[in-house]
């Protein structure tokens, strides 16, 4: 009996040591899980893989293990990040504004306060896009036509409850914009519909429309300033419309990880984001890189949250 007790004690002690000791070692000392809330090979995945390449350059001893948790437009994966262990060894990629809209409109398993924000890495502006052979040569022409012919203009959006949907609601609020709206499941369907003539114009992200540049005309960007990718495309602001809309990608950890781990992650991500080679790779992949630190990002998200509650909350 006594012997068995000692054996049990020894095993428990060994387990305790195995669990507790590593936690006291300095961060980082084991591989980190990277949760991607979309399918492997998608835009979010490609961006994170570029990030990984430079992480390995700065922190070669710590590898990333990619875990894909797609479903419900990212909501499943975002919830997974929020609920993961708060030890600093689980990071995840999020998309803004999707994550905010989901928290408002669904019974999602997360709130914005459930995360600590590492930083923003991509700011992908929305644009007004038509076919190359379209009669519309500027965003103003599109808006004016829609007002003169209510319901005639067919506009394609990815959604519902997406960044595109938000911009569309904003357009409706500010300009009236009486059009026929059609929702698509993804950007591939949406691009195909525009090229095939099912819709006359669409609201799309720069990253997504860049792939069919040969066939499309980008009329205007819903951004504060012009983009390096397409320096000739004006902003909606220049055309006289106060409309700003974008999709941002950022990296987060569950709230409450050790402070030194968070500081380490923030510092390393910042180093990567400012690396000229990284920026070159991002540009080649058509990902509009823009660094924003975690604190500033959270502030931006809180102001967006109020807008979104006003636009979607009543539904």
């Amino acid at each position: 009996m006594r012997q068995r007790f000692f054996t049990m004690f020894a095993i428990t002690a060994a387990l305790f040591v195995a669990v507790v000791l590593p936690a006291q070692a300095a961060y980082p000392e084991k591989p980190v899980n990277m949760i991607i809330a979309f399918t492997a090979g998608g835009s979010s995945d490609v961006q994170a893989r570029i990030m990984e390449k430079y992480w390995n350059k700065y922190i070669p001893q710590q590898k990333w293990v990619f875990v894909y948790k797609p479903g419900a437009g990212g909501a499943i994966g975002f919830g997974e990040i929020a609920m993961s262990k708060k030890d600093g060894y689980t990071i995840g990629g999020i998309n803004i504004p999707h994550i905010i809209i989901q928290a408002v409109t669904q019974k999602a398993q997360f709130k914005l306060g459930d995360f600590d924000y590492i930083c923003q890495v991509v700011n992908d502006p929305q644009c007004v896009v038509v076919r190359k052979d379209s009669k519309f040569k500027s965003a103003r022409e599109v808006f004016d036509y829609s007002k003169a012919n209510p319901g005639k203009l067919k506009i394609g959006l990815v959604g519902p409850n997406s960044g595109h949907h938000m911009m569309y609601l904003d357009l409706k609020k500010q300009l009236g914009f009486p059009v026929t709206e059609v929702f698509y499941k993804g950007t591939a369907d949406q691009n195909a519909a525009l090229l095939g003539g099912e819709i006359d114009a669409m609201l799309g992200n720069l990253n997504d429309v860049m792939r069919s540049l040969e066939e499309m005309n980008i009329l205007a960007l819903a951004a504060e300033k012009r983009n390096d990718f397409l320096p000739n495309v004006p902003t909606l602001k220049e055309e006289g419309y106060d409309i700003f809309s974008n999709i941002r990608r950022a990296f987060v950890v569950p709230k409450g990880i050790p402070a030194d781990a968070l500081a380490f992650l923030r510092e390393t991500f910042k180093k990567i984001c400012l690396d000229p080679d990284y920026l070159k790779d991002m540009k080649q992949a058509g990902q509009p890189a823009e660094y924003l630190d975690g604190v500033a990002l959270f502030k931006h998200m809180q102001s967006l949250d109020a807008d979104i509650k006003a636009a979607f909350g009543k539904k």
């Binding site: 492997a40 090979g41 835009s43 698509y184 691009n191």
Partner: protein
């Protein structure tokens, strides 16, 4: 274009390229053959590897994996009646009967040669007709895709010509189950039964793993057979099959390959629809359609040539317009863009060397597939020499890890198990699991595209019919669908006339005698499901609700009809119920069900490998029926399976296995 030919061919003669193609093919075939690991996953997991290569080699390798995986799916379809990828559903219809009749080698080589042929045709279209076909493909919008899906669905009527009502109700059940999750129009949760994770919906692949592979395991365990199937190798089988395919089946092959290419290049539809449509067209135009489903070469050939032709087709809009024709093409497009290569018609001039190397590599890959595939066929038929109990237990393990790997979610494991038990029950009462799978695949696409039509109708005076009338392609598809729905009746009349001419009394070709109890039970099952879903209907609104209500009403009506039909049959039979079924050992079925459920329940506690070892070892010992001592065999099975899973999933693909609280 000619100036790129020589450099492209030189690129391909490079030993590294050949190695990449052979490696990609072999890996792809294994991934495709494992239920749960699909072509999409296999390619996506290899994308990061291509980041370290030059763009051309990366593209060539990804293309080879795609080809291998789509062919690989047919191996498990023929050998264990489980489509390895959703594209191989139609291959099971004739492949499995062939295997059961002892002609497994013929089925496998038929699918190998047809896949290779289909791939060739698809690539030829890509090489010569990419530009005009791409322009045509993007004409397929909401209305066109809606009717294309309905056309695919109408094949249920041809498929289950023996029992149309049960076929239709099974398709309806599949469509109903597919409505679980986020409603595509309002993005509100639907039929989640207040369980949040269900918001991600019932994914096609776990449901298919359940309907096909787990229900197949239950059937196999319950049967008194010692082995999967008899196996009588044919001498000189390669020559025999090749002569048969390229002699008598050349029309079937060519037609199916063209259907595959055309469906493949459409952005909305992929291999799973192409193979079903091709199978049905072969059956429709055959002089003796009743032979389909009994294990004939034409059946396997049409499905497999079509799904491999899809590959070339799906690259057409991907390369020329930047619009992927299938889920796998979307992943490959992502890899291309990450390399900074801009798709577009200019791809053939500005980056011509890359484009032509890629296209030529597809020809070479399809050629190389024949020797690589033959080698693997030789290995795979050995599966038929393993005792059935062990094979069946091994399939459970593969199904569980396969279902988990799709989204790294235990929910999918449970979905697979539940669908397995339901699928077994459905097979017993003669509901059609093939039609159900079709409903699960096509249901969401039908709803989504119908939603687009409704949205578009706002610009056409709120008339959806006007939207349909506006497109000539839609009109053609509507006619085809109606024709397809009438086919069983036309065939019936034609048979009657032929019989009358032959001086025989008209035989009731289309009615299969069935015992009444099955009708009543299937009717009750259908009604039960509709009641369960009906409890949730009040929480829904708008389009998401009316679509679900429509489905429910249809299913309820059909369920009532089935009950009624059963009762009527009983009256007519008045006693003597004849049954020509094989005996079933229900005790063994119950044991494997309990063991599988316990296995899934223990994974989150014990971790994947410990629970798998327990499950494999214990069920092999309990279910052993070889007469000898089970312990050595059970340990061997456990060791081999765990090692294989660890090698393929953890080492090769880097897919995480479920973690437990106690062990990782």
């Amino acid at each position: 274009m000619n100036e790129f030919f020589i450099p492209a061919l030189t690129n391909l003669c490079d030993p590294v390229s050949i190695l990449l193609m052979v490696g990609g093919l072999a890996g792809g075939i294994v991934i495709g053959a494992l239920p749960g690991l699909t072509a999409t996953m296999g390619v996506a997991l290899m994308v990061p590897v291509t980041f370290a290569m030059d763009a051309t080699s990366g593209l060539v390798m990804l293309g080879a994996i795609y080809v291998g995986a789509i062919y690989g799916g047919s191996n498990s379809a023929c050998l264990i009646c489980t489509p390895g990828t959703p594209s191989s559903v139609a291959t099971t219809f004739d492949g499995w009967p062939m295997c059961q009749a002892g002609r497994a080698d013929r089925a496998l080589i038929t699918s190998l040669l047809s896949s290779s042929f289909g791939g060739f045709i698809g690539t030829a279209f890509l090489l010569f007709l990419a530009a005009p076909l791409a322009r045509f493909a993007i004409k397929f919008g909401g209305p066109e895709n809606f009717w294309l899906c309905l056309f695919g669905l109408s094949s249920i009527a041809v498929m289950s010509s023996g029992n149309i009502i049960k076929g239709l109700v099974s398709g309806g059940l599949g469509m109903l189950v597919a409505t679980i999750g986020l409603d595509p129009h309002g993005a509100t949760p639907r039929f989640t039964f207040d369980y949040y994770p269900l918001i991600q919906g019932v994914e096609v692949i776990p449901a298919m793993i359940g309907l096909f592979s787990i229900s197949q395991v239950l059937y196999l365990i319950g049967s008194y057979k010692p082995f999967l199937a008899q196996y009588n190798p044919t001498l000189g089988v390669f020559g025999v099959v090749a002569r048969e395919l390229f002699g008598k089946c050349k029309t079937v092959l060519l037609r199916s390959s063209i259907i595959g290419t055309l469906v493949g290049m459409l952005p909305g539809a992929g291999g799973e629809i192409a193979s079903i449509i091709a199978y049905n067209e072969s059956k429709r135009w055959d002089k003796r359609p009743d032979r389909y489903g009994t294990g004939i070469v034409e059946g396997v050939a049409s499905s497999e040539s079509a799904n491999n032709a899809v590959i070339g087709g799906s690259f057409i809009p991907m390369l020329t317009l930047g619009i992927p024709g299938s889920a796998v093409a979307a992943v490959i497009l992502g890899a291309l863009l990450a390399k900074g290569i801009q798709p577009g018609f200019k791809v053939f001039t500005v980056t011509g060397e890359l484009a032509y190397t890629f296209i030529f590599s597809q020809f070479v890959v399809n050629l190389l597939m024949i020797p690589v595939g033959l080698l693997l066929v030789k290995v795979l038929v050995r599966l038929l020499r393993v005792r059935l109990t062990f094979v069946a237990i091994g399939i459970v393990l593969l199904s569980v890890i396969g279902a988990y790997a799709i989204r790294n979610s235990m929910l999918d494991v449970w979905i697979a198990l539940i669908f397995g038990i339901l699928g077994y029950f459905c097979n017993r009462v003669k509901l059609d699991t093939g039609a159900m799978a079709l409903g699960i695949i096509l249901g969401p696409m039908i709803e989504e595209n119908f939603g687009k039509c409704v949205s578009l109708s706002k610009a056409s005076r709120d008339s959806v019919i006007q939207v349909f009338l506006d497109s000539p392609i839609t009109l053609i598809l509507i006619c085809l669908t109606l024709l397809s729905l009438c086919t069983p009746f036309i065939m019936h009349l034609w048979h009657q006339r032929a019989a009358a001419e032959a001086g025989l009394s008209a035989q009731p070709v289309l009615t299969v005698p069935e015992d009444w109890l099955k009708d009543v039970m299937s009717g009750f099952f259908v009604l039960l499901i509709s009641v369960v879903f009906f409890t949730q209907i009040f929480e829904l609104e708008d389009v998401g609700r009316s679509y679900a209500l429509l489905l429910l009403a249809f299913i309820t009506l059909m369920g009532l009809y089935l009950c009624f039909q059963g009762v009527l049959k009983r009256r007519r039979l008045a006693g003597g119920v004849s049954s020509d079924e094989e005996p079933v050992n229900m005790r063994r079925v119950a044991v494997i069900v309990v063991a599988s459920v316990a296995y899934a329940a223990f994974i989150p506690i014990l971790g994947f490998y410990p629970s798998s070892s327990f499950f494999l070892c214990l069920s092999a010992i309990i279910l052993n029926n070889s007469g000898g001592s089970p312990y050595v065999a059970a340990c061997l099975l456990t060791l081999i399976m765990c090692l294989a899973v660890w090698l393929v999933f953890a080492m090769l693909l880097g897919v995480p296995t479920p973690e437990g609280i106690l062990f990782q």
